[in-house]
Symmetry: C2
Subunit: 143 residues, 2 copies
């Protein structure tokens, strides 16, 4: 079961981090991407199209076609990917699910969760996907 983000969003992150390690001008096919990452072809293809429409990726059809980052990998954050796929509702909603939870009517962990949420936000917004991908031991992205 996924934690904070949808499966879609997780795949999007994996794909983008994979692309971040490639030269920006080189396109990568869905085939390569999904085989290396071992994630479902058609589902991911839909996700990449979404990211393209949202202006985060570029795509080209035909032979030697594929996907690439639209901007340089050091200008993109994980949070931007998450925002494009899942939206930022996890930054607003009550973690215990109380529909009316707010500063006026706080749930039992409202304040504490607010602090935690800020740290999570930091974690997702403070580093570029380039740094993220480089910090990571690369072998994990390949089989």
């Amino acid at each position: 079961m996924s934690i904070l983000f949808s499966r879609q969003c997780e795949y999007a992150l994996q794909a983008v981090l994979y692309l971040a390690l490639k030269p920006q001008d080189k396109l990568t096919s869905i085939r390569e991407l999904t085989e290396k990452l071992e994630i479902p072809y058609h589902f991911v293809s839909k996700i990449l199209q979404d990211l393209t429409k949202k202006g985060l990726l570029i795509s080209h059809k035909g032979p030697a076609g594929g996907f690439g980052l639209k901007k340089s990998a050091n200008e993109i954050t994980i949070l931007q990917i998450i925002e494009a796929i899942d939206g930022l509702s996890f930054m607003n909603n009550c973690v215990l699910g109380f529909p009316e939870c707010s500063n006026d009517k706080p749930c039992a962990v409202h304040k504490k969760w607010g602090e935690i949420r800020e740290v999570i936000h930091q974690m997702l917004a403070s580093n570029s996907i380039l740094k993220m991908a480089e910090d990571t031991k690369k072998p994990q992205y390949f089989k």
Copy 2:
């Protein structure tokens, strides 16, 4: 969309926090509970049965029947409820969804998320549901 926990789990928490504010010997019917909290009767009824089987609640059939906490509200934590319904996989899985993420092959936020997770654990385990429910402005639990 829910954040860390399933809808089931959220309802369970809301129900248990509601029960925590009642005298322990008094039983509460699903009807009252779901009407006051405005949550779905049948779904919640299933959840309460689960919590009963797991030994967290007691139940009685028949007139004046209903559910109550098995132990005193100051001996139960939110984490115990979560563990019973969703399990603790959120404490182990990679937040970005990398299946092989571990200390050996950490994802981009492995370390940071580990710290955050500890704070979340603290938040859920360090106070009893009695304190949780009392700290909360009570009006929110009633309509």
